[in-house]
């Protein structure tokens, strides 16, 4: 086939041309077989160059193009669209990455970089000569979205999707909705309460007939793919009939003899085996925690709504797209970290939020009045590599110093906590008498308008101290008194000690410890171990798993506004996968040569996506590929003993000509 090809080599505004001699690349390839024109351009992706390419293709009837620029991760779709606009099948465009793979990787060797670029462009030209025109695979897409996690992010996404006319199944692992926000009383920066907010959203959900809410529900199996996911969801019963008498239920709670730590209150209180987290929590009736229930039957005696015959169910949920909103865990300090679990007056910020919510007139904790509060910032965030921080800790009866190790994996800043602790400190001072707040910070990060809270707290007389990097404050217990000691930057290194009644560790956000859901969906994680998006700016809520979007704090620390912004973005994205009822998929998949295949089954074993099945074709057993499941990963290719499988657009022949081009000598 004699092709007429166009080749475009991008300067990337210096990103490439500072290290690769693009004119030389052009000269080296412009006389290659089939190359009709070769051009260099400042920004291949710019509107003007795109227009020029379309004109070139049309005017010269080009039947293939090569673009040598940045990573195809960034612009594959851009240039495919250019080809399509010019009436050229988009698979007749081949990309060469001469930025990430050349100019950025070899900025120390310009000659070598230019040579490598020439090789890559030549091999792309070799491949485009063989490129076939392909049509996308069209598959039906079910107009339904499964939202996993009914925290603020998941609830908000579900409401928005429902309003766009898309049926939603909202799957929540706990028996109550609202996620973390339900645990916070006053919220920054609006002073609404978490309960108000959750109640409002729950009402909005209840009003919408196209949202199905499953609580106590956990996804245990995931099959299928974009357009057609099938989830198996295990739903644990509440053991309480829906239409129950609230008065009797309270009596049942009172009657229950079992007491366990209450994780809603971060274990500073206990609850019964039959419980709700707070009155009128949603859904509005309690639940029996069957793991801790001893089946003593006391509750049944006082309340007729209790029903131990309820069974665990498995529900099948079908959806075209899955929206992941599973949130975060608060960082859990290790025993002894700044005195946590070592001294009885050291708590975390989430615990402190619960304490101030539960105290009415007086601020007390474990029976003691609280006046002086010390807040130690960045616990579990902004950690340094092991060895870089100084650790203390000798223990005698009268003098005990807590560990002040700040080394760990969490390099990131948790973003919400400076604002949250300052807001809570202000609230504490306003609500309770004679409270003094001492903030042991590592530099305040009340970004944006949140700065106003910091200003307010300064005006109210809160004291701010700042530790040196690698010299965190220490917590000391002496003669029954707890002191926080710091070398303070704000007073040029003076050592300052504060006698504190309560020490609040301002703990950050970490990924959920139970992350089975991530492995079920093969979700990728970033350096910080939170779920990772494809590209922070170009595709901020999409994942590499087609059809699965992410939002909220499961993606990284966020406050409520930021969580909701991402959740609504993810709702739009998920909606776009399902709204049209069908989807176009890449035709780059494996192809079996029926004549060669002898069905040994090796490909079926190798396929990570279960795309290979045995079929009988003309009396012969052969392998067949499921087009909508195959991802074109190529795992089956090398295992086939008779070489009966090829990858469309990456055929052996194409690979071989590319290798030949790469091996060719260049002058």
């Amino acid at each position: 086939m004699n092709r007429k090809l166009g080749v475009y080599i991008c300067h990337c505004g210096g990103n490439i041309s500072d290290y690769v001699d693009v004119e030389k690349v052009k000269a080296a390839v412009e006389h290659d077989e089939g190359v009709f024109l070769a051009r260099t351009t400042m920004f291949a992706c710019s509107d003007a160059t795109q227009k020029e390419m379309v004109e070139d293709i049309n005017a010269n009837q080009l039947d293939g193009i090569v673009v040598a620029s940045c990573s195809p991760k960034l612009h594959l779709t851009t240039f495919r669209a250019v080809a399509e606009r010019a009436g050229l099948n988009k698979y007749n465009y081949v990309h060469a990455n001469i930025r990430e793979q050349v100019s950025w990787a070899h900025s120390d060797n310009k000659t070598g970089a230019t040579e490598k670029a020439i090789h890559l462009v030549k091999s792309a030209i070799a491949r485009v000569r063989l490129a076939e025109s392909l049509d996308p695979i069209t598959i039906p897409s079910r107009k339904a979205v499964a939202v996993i996690g009914a925290g603020i992010s998941g609830m908000r996404a579900a409401i928005e999707l429902a309003d766009m006319g898309c049926p939603v199944t909202l799957i929540e692992r706990e028996h109550f909705v609202g996620g973390r926000v339900a645990q916070w009383d006053l919220l920054f920066t609006t002073d609404q309460t978490g309960k108000e907010l959750v109640t409002r959203l729950y009402d909005d959900i209840a009003k919408r007939s196209n949202i199905r809410l499953l609580t106590g529900a956990e996804v245990i199996e995931n099959t299928g793919n974009i357009g057609d996911f099938t989830l198996k969801v295990k739903v644990t019963p509440r053991y309480i009939n829906e239409r129950c008498d609230e008065g009797n239920l309270q009596r049942a709670i009172d009657a229950c003899p079992v007491e366990v730590p209450d994780d809603f209150n971060f274990n500073i209180t206990t609850r019964k085996a039959i419980y709700h987290n707070f009155p009128s929590e949603y859904p509005q009736y309690p639940v029996i925690d069957i793991k801790n229930c001893t089946r003593c039957g006391e509750c049944e005696k006082v309340c007729g709504s209790i029903d131990f015959s309820q069974q665990e169910k498995t529900v099948e949920v079908k959806a075209g797209s899955v929206l992941m909103a599973t949130g975060f865990d608060p960082y859990n300090p290790s025993e002894g970290e700044f005195g946590y679990l070592q001294f009885d007056n050291v708590v975390t910020l989430p615990q402190f939020k619960r304490i101030i919510d539960m105290c009415e007139e007086k601020l007390t904790f474990r029976g003691k009045d609280i006046h002086n509060i010390a807040y130690i910032y960045c616990v579990g965030s902004r950690q340094v590599e092991a060895g870089a921080s100084s650790a203390g800790g000798s223990a005698t009866d009268r003098y005990e110093e807590a560990s002040r190790d700040i080394s760990g994996e969490n390099r990131y800043c948790s973003r919400y906590c400076c604002t949250s602790v300052i807001h809570s400190a202000i609230e504490t001072k306003k609500r309770f008498r004679a409270v003094n707040n001492y903030h042991f910070t590592r530099g305040i990060r009340t970004y944006g308008k949140q700065e106003l809270l910091y200003n307010e707290s300064l005006k109210m007389g809160d004291i701010y101290l700042q530790s040196y990097e690698n010299d965190p404050p220490s917590v000391i217990r002496e003669n029954g008194k707890t002191t926080v000691r710091i070398n303070d930057i704000m007073t040029a290194g003076k050592e300052i000690s504060v006698n504190a009644d309560l020490i609040v560790l301002v703990t950050g956000m970490v990924p959920r410890s139970d992350n089975r859901i991530a492995s079920l969906f093969k979700l990728p994680k970033g350096r910080d171990n939170f779920f990772n998006e494809i590209h922070m700016k170009l595709r901020p809520v999409e994942t590499v798993i087609d059809g699965v979007t992410i939002c909220g704090a499961c993606q990284g620390p966020k406050n409520i506004t930021e969580s909701v912004n991402s959740s609504l973005s993810a709702a739009t994205k998920s909606f776009s996968y399902v709204s049209k009822g069908e989807l176009e998929l890449e035709p780059i998949i494996a192809r079996v040569d029926a004549a060669l295949c002898t069905w040994c089954g090796k490909c079926m074993e190798a396929c990570p996506f279960d795309a290979v099945k045995k079929v009988v074709d003309g009396g012969k057993e052969i392998a067949a590929i499921n087009n909508s499941v195959c991802k074109g990963c190529g795992m089956c290719l090398p295992v086939c003993p008779v070489n009966a499988i090829d990858l469309v657009a990456y055929s052996d022949q194409e690979m071989e000509t590319m290798i030949n081009a790469l091996a060719e000598d260049i002058k």
Binding site: K449, A492, T561, V564, N565, S566
Partner: protein, 432 residues
């Protein structure tokens, strides 16, 4: 006044074609809604199209903006009006807005201009180039900047002497001095405000010497000096063209400062300064870069790691507030500052100072609706009336806000906020 009047109807009016407005328009259009995007400037792309690289990934800004911009500009469901202003919007009922938009004359017929730049070469008038933040000149007949969209010429009529040189040079005869403003009467079902932010004007802090001392520049000017389409093709001191080797950043210029009436933090300037410092270490391997800060606010995904990276590269971070800047005869600058670590006032000499100017609101927002209808916050950003549950909502039903029009934020947050605004607009339109 307006020569022609056009009438049309759309599902959504997006005001402002920066990254937030562009993203919102694309989301709507990709889901089948018809959008009109009104941009005041001659090109869409907002501030982002002029940036060098972006934190915290150091992607080249033009490389991620231009494909978006070109996707927007050729989307069949998006109509773009550049050089245009929204004069008045009236809400008649739910899903029923009327807007009047004026497209100012460009004096060039956009359809016919090929962007050949011959008019530019012919024009004898030279004025400051606003797109290079006044560091170099441009002509009165000019293409706004090389990656502008649309990439067509415009005549800066205020500075034009009407000599006619460009008209003669233009091969397609598309220069038309008789062009008049066009009025559009639009009927709409929802509105998204994405008018972005303004930069703090450093002339308001006289003691920093901006405008008087040539080697004191703003961070936006430094973005231009570092960008691929930069004015001098290298980083130079504007005063004498010398290559700087002791650069200083003054953080919080015009932010967290009640003396200039702006107590809030601008949220982006710590990070863009750290980014520029890293780029400068690459561009000027011999240079020292010092960042004078109150607090470093590297709070976002990957930000703290980016800050650590800068420290590792040798960027010098000094916790201190700048009192004043004075100039020596050779153009070098003396910074008087309070060193907080040592608790003493110190002086340091630098040969170039970059003011990390903050984010202030765009006053245009007050005029779109009859007075008082669109609530603004105390700093005149568009007020988010349901900040926690519906951050894109404003005081007017069916009017949503995207990006920095509601307050300082970086590009990732602007994009997510645009996602929220378009999502709410879509469900608002569908709900009817």
């Amino acid at each position: 006044m307006a020569e022609k009047i056009f009438k049309d109807s759309f599902d959504a009016l997006v005001i402002g074609g920066g990254i937030a407005g562009g993203e919102a328009a694309l989301n709507l259009a990709n889901n089948g809604f018809r959008v009109i995007l009104v941009e005041k400037d001659l090109s869409i792309g907002g501030k982002m199209i002029h940036l060098s690289k972006v934190f915290p990934t150091l992607d080249c800004s033009a490389c991620i903006t231009t494909p978006k911009v070109s996707e927007i500009s050729r989307h069949p469901s998006i109509t773009i009006l550049t050089g245009s202003e929204v004069k008045k919007i009236v809400k008649r009922g739910k899903n029923d807005f009327e807007a009047m938009v004026i497209k100012h004359p460009r004096y060039v017929r956009e359809e016919d201009c090929t962007g050949c730049q011959l008019c530019e070469q012919a024009c004898p008038v030279v004025v400051n180039d606003q797109y290079q933040y006044d560091m170099v000149g441009r002509k009165a007949a000019y293409i706004p900047f090389s990656i502008a969209s649309p990439r067509v010429a415009a005549i800066d009529i205020e500075n034009c002497t009407l000599c006619g040189a460009c008209e003669k040079a233009c091969p397609t005869k598309c220069i038309d001095f008789t062009q008049e403003a066009t009025e559009y009467q639009l009927s709409l079902r929802s509105v998204i405000i994405a008018t972005g932010f303004n930069l703090f004007d450093p002339l308001k802090i006289e003691r920093f010497g901006y405008g008087k001392m040539k080697n004191v520049i703003t961070s936006m000017q430094m973005e231009r000096l570092l960008a691929p389409t930069r004015p001098y093709n290298t980083v130079l001191r504007p005063g004498d063209g010398k290559m700087p080797c002791r650069l200083a950043y003054v953080l919080c210029t015009g932010s967290r400062d009640i003396t200039v009436g702006n107590p809030i933090c601008s949220q982006i300037c710590c990070m863009y300064s750290i980014k520029q410092a890293q780029l400068l270490m690459g561009a000027l391997p011999m240079a020292d870069v010092t960042i004078y800060y109150i607090n470093i606010r590297s709070f976002g995904k990957g930000f703290e790691e980016f800050y650590d990276q800068a420290k590792g590269m040798g960027v010098n971070f000094v916790k201190g507030k700048i009192g004043m800047i004075s100039e020596k005869e050779d153009g070098d600058l003396i910074l008087r500052y309070e060193d907080i670590n040592d608790n003493v006032v110190k002086e340091a000499s630098h040969d170039m100072v970059i003011l990390s100017v903050g984010v202030v609101s765009n006053p245009d927002n007050a005029a779109f609706f009859d007075s008082g209808q669109l609530r603004l916050d105390p700093f005149e950003f568009v007020c988010q009336t349901d900040l926690l549950a519906s951050p894109a909502r404003t005081s007017i039903g069916g009017v949503f806000v995207a990006g920095t029009a509601s307050g300082p934020m970086d590009i990732p947050d602007s994009i997510l906020s645009a996602g929220a605004a378009s999502s709410e607009a879509m469900s608002y339109i569908i709900r009817k």
